[in-house]
């Protein structure tokens, strides 16, 4: 932690120093120009959506947006967002407290178990629930999304609790506060930024979730956009609704950035760490075990159980899976995701380098543009790029390039994060030494900076690819004709209730999603990474 901060500070100082200023100004111009181009490209989905809506007659837009249905959708979506966020907040903080502050036996194992739901994409979990139970609608969507999202609150809260100053709570207790009062008055303010950042990510996830709400047939914005787009009367309605959803997403991301800033400031204030005395649970520990086990049963047991059951059931019927089809889908999934990850990398390099090495207004603006990928739901990006390709770039329509570009935009924040942190880790002093030894700036870059930063960037690209493999809504809209991915095949099979055939696809997707989830949870729980990277 300390080394990173030191390096970052060194970097800032160095950019101000005279030595830096003579360092290849032409290179910096090219870098800035590339970053601007990347930022412009990343803004295409949002900009073109607005263009498309602006082209329609204003009366149509007003009709489309100013009616009872939009109000209903708004209430439905916001209701779901609030309910899931609140439930995740309560369950997540309670879980984190049990895992950090108590003497619960097997806390390490429970931490792993309670982060595992991140490995189950929400629409796969929803599939497990609809295939085995009657739960549908609001409660179905609420249940599935809460179960899959609680770790987004648990993990950062665990990290914050570990860093928090437990001694102050003891002081509060000696001053007569109850354990609950002491927690609320002393500890809660310390963990609040981390917890809230997690909760906002949950809200963002619920807002943009498409697969789970559609499978649960809950009338949320994303599903309504898809229905409007699929209906014959007017795609302008779909576009107008997408703009509303995009605005909601941008507001949430802006809020999340703010809270995260607070978190960073607070984190630096934490001075001393004493190992807190764990709260003895006594007989309550059975209740704690029971609660955690129930959570694991609902979030992991139900979907995995359903999938395994269907895997061995009715294997001889007409809906049985064809191994060659599964293999072909897996192959195209990997091909598309890798292409998308490389597009994300190409866009992320200039933005990330600029952000890591040359803090400026331009760097902030281009970095902010990259966060659009986090704010725009997949369905919005997909829809906008359909419109964009048809009217501006028909050659790219339904080509893998347009889909790869959509992945690039959607997962740009991850890629920029990887590039920025990897470059920032390279101490400028090392570069300076290479320069004094006679290397040209270009050589310093290839021999020193790139070489040190590359493993981190490569890992980031891998994570982007793994995340892109489970993307559903944009893939549905943009996939080349004849190409199916694991996610789109699962989608097709579940909407035809071919559950037995869908099960292998769902399991394959869990395998894909498990890798980044498991790789990152340790670091998120240790406070070394932000939970958004596990999304």
């Amino acid at each position: 932690m300390r080394t990173v901060r030191f390096t970052a500070a060194g970097g800032t100082e160095a950019t101000l120093g005279p030595r830096r200023r003579v360092r290849a100004p032409r290179g910096r111009v090219v870098l800035s120009a590339s970053a601007v181009v990347a930022a412009v490209l990343a803004s295409i989905p949002l900009v073109y959506l607005v263009v498309r809506v602006a082209q329609a007659e204003s009366a149509v837009i007003v009709d489309a947006l100013w009616n009872v249905r939009i109000a209903t959708l708004m209430v439905n979506t916001l209701g779901l967002v609030l309910a899931v966020s609140a439930a995740s907040l309560v369950v997540g903080v309670a879980t984190a407290w049990l895992l950090v502050r108590t003497d619960l036996p097997g806390r390490r194992a429970w931490l792993v178990v309670s982060s595992l739901p991140l490995a189950v994409p929400s629409y796969v979990a929803a599939f497990g629930w609809i295939a085995t139970t009657d739960v549908r609608g609001f409660w179905g969507a609420f249940l599935v999304l809460t179960l899959s999202n609680v770790p987004l609150v648990t993990l950062p809260t665990v990290a914050a609790l570990r860093l928090s100053h437990a001694a102050s709570e003891d002081v509060a207790r000696t001053l007569g506060r109850t354990r609950w009062q002491a927690f609320i008055e002393v500890t809660w303010p310390q963990i609040r930024p981390a917890t809230f950042a997690g909760v906002l990510l949950v809200a963002l996830y619920v807002l943009s979730d498409f697969g789970a709400v559609a499978l649960m047939r809950y009338q949320a914005f994303t599903w309504a956009i898809q229905v409007a787009y699929e209906s014959l009367f007017d795609r302008t309605l779909a576009a107008a609704m997408s703009v509303v959803l995009a605005v909601m997403g941008i507001v949430l991301v802006a809020a999340e950035r703010r809270v995260r800033g607070d978190q960073a400031r607070l984190g630096s204030m934490v001075a001393a760490r004493t190992a807190p005395v764990p709260v003895p649970l006594g007989r309550w520990r059975w209740l704690a075990h029971g609660g955690l086990a129930l959570g694991a049963l609902l979030s992991l047991g139900v979907p995995l159980g359903a999938l395994t059951r269907f895997l061995f059931l009715r294997a001889d019927t007409s809906t049985a899976v064809r191994a060659d089809a599964l293999a072909a889908d897996a192959l195209s999934t990997v091909g598309l995701a890798v292409t998308g990850a490389l597009v994300a990398l190409a866009l992320a390099l200039p933005i990330g380098i600029l952000a890591a090495r040359f803090r400026s207004r331009l760097a902030s603006v281009t970095e902010a543009a990259s966060y659009l990928g986090l704010a725009l739901p997949g369905i919005v990006v997909g829809l906008s790029l359909v419109f964009f390709a048809l009217s501006v770039a028909p050659m790219l329509y339904q080509s893998i390039w347009m889909l790869a570009f959509a992945y690039g935009v959607l997962f740009l924040p991850k890629a920029v994060g990887a590039v920025r942190s990897s470059i920032a880790q390279v101490e400028p002093g090392v570069e300076d030494v290479a320069r004094t030894l006679g290397s040209t700036p270009a050589r310093v870059w290839t021999r020193v900076t790139a070489r040190i930063a590359w493993p981190g960037i490569g890992a980031g690209v891998l994570l982007v690819a793994l995340t892109a493999m489970k993307e559903l809504p944009a893939t549905l809209l943009l996939r080349p004709t004849g190409t199916e991915t694991l996610a789109t095949s699962l989608w097709r099979l579940t909407s035809g209730t071919a559950y037995a055939a869908a099960a292998p696809y769902a399991l394959a997707l869990i395998a894909v999603a498990a890798v980044p989830a498991l790789l990152l949870t340790r670091e998120v729980a240790g406070g070394k990474r932000h939970p958004e990277e596990t999304l």
Partner: protein, 353 residues
Amino acid sequence: MTRPRLAALATATLAALTLSACASAQDDTTTTPAGNASAAAASDNSFTLYSGRDQELIEPLIEQFESATGVNVDVRYAGTTELAALLQEEGDATPADVFLAQDAGALGAIAKADMFATLPQNITTAVPAGFTSTDGSWVGVTGRARVIVYDSEQLSADEVPTTVAALTGDQWSSQVGIAPTNASFQSFVTALRVLEGEDAARTWLEEMRAKDAQIYAKNTPILEAVNAGEIKLGLINHYYWYRMAAEVGADNMRARLAFPEPGDAGSIVNVTGAGLLKGAAQDADALAFIEYLVSDAAQQYFVDTTYEYPLIDGVAAPDGLPALKTLTNPELDLSDLDTLGQTTELLVEVGLL
């Protein structure tokens, strides 16, 4: 100094992208060049099909066609209504050469948008009038009757309503399954609008909603729910029952079919059909496929595999079905079902979509 680095980087990225593009293009022979179907020669041994019919049903037939002709078919599978909407959004830029739809209304909507080329007479005359377009813009492929499916353990055959109007009765409250997103249900609603008028259709939908009609994604789950006794009645197409009967045995099924009285919107016979997009007017492969769909081989495939009504002479309907002629409604022209847009709008307004 930095330029070579960036250039090298760009080249490397591009190379990697191209490589992965090749890899993914190879595995399923995709990446259709957009919008050049008309520029293609008469036959390039490949065409693009937008299929509103399920992959599981149509893929074996496409494979038969591919091995018989050596033509490669790129298929985009999605809902019929969704593909009709997509075709309208794409307009002239559409990469599709053939549109195979499970609903006459969607075909009519594309014909009305003037996106279909006129089919040659030898194709259109193979199918009797009433089951195909009136102007040769598309051709009917199979017939499918709308039916009421009922749970025979809770209801006797004479208790089953004979009109859809009777479904709004109190005794059927929360006992009727419908699938508003399904193209066949939507074309039934269009028929209701055409036959009974807009207001009657809206009233019926609102009453169904008020009586808590159960919403399903597709026909199959409705049939499964009736067969499990979860609901008493459902509105589906006839062949779903036959398909399930073939899998589990007709004797093992609680669900039974009732054909609503002739003339009722609930008893319409809709068709699946295919049309040739204008850009593919000169595409011999696409045309050969449409011709194949109304050939003996393909029609027999539909009879044997999907239990639909064949539409050409010389191929017999599946056993146990009432004759197609007894179900035909002379009052209804299938071409009038092309106002799908108003139907989806109505469904949204009453809150069913």
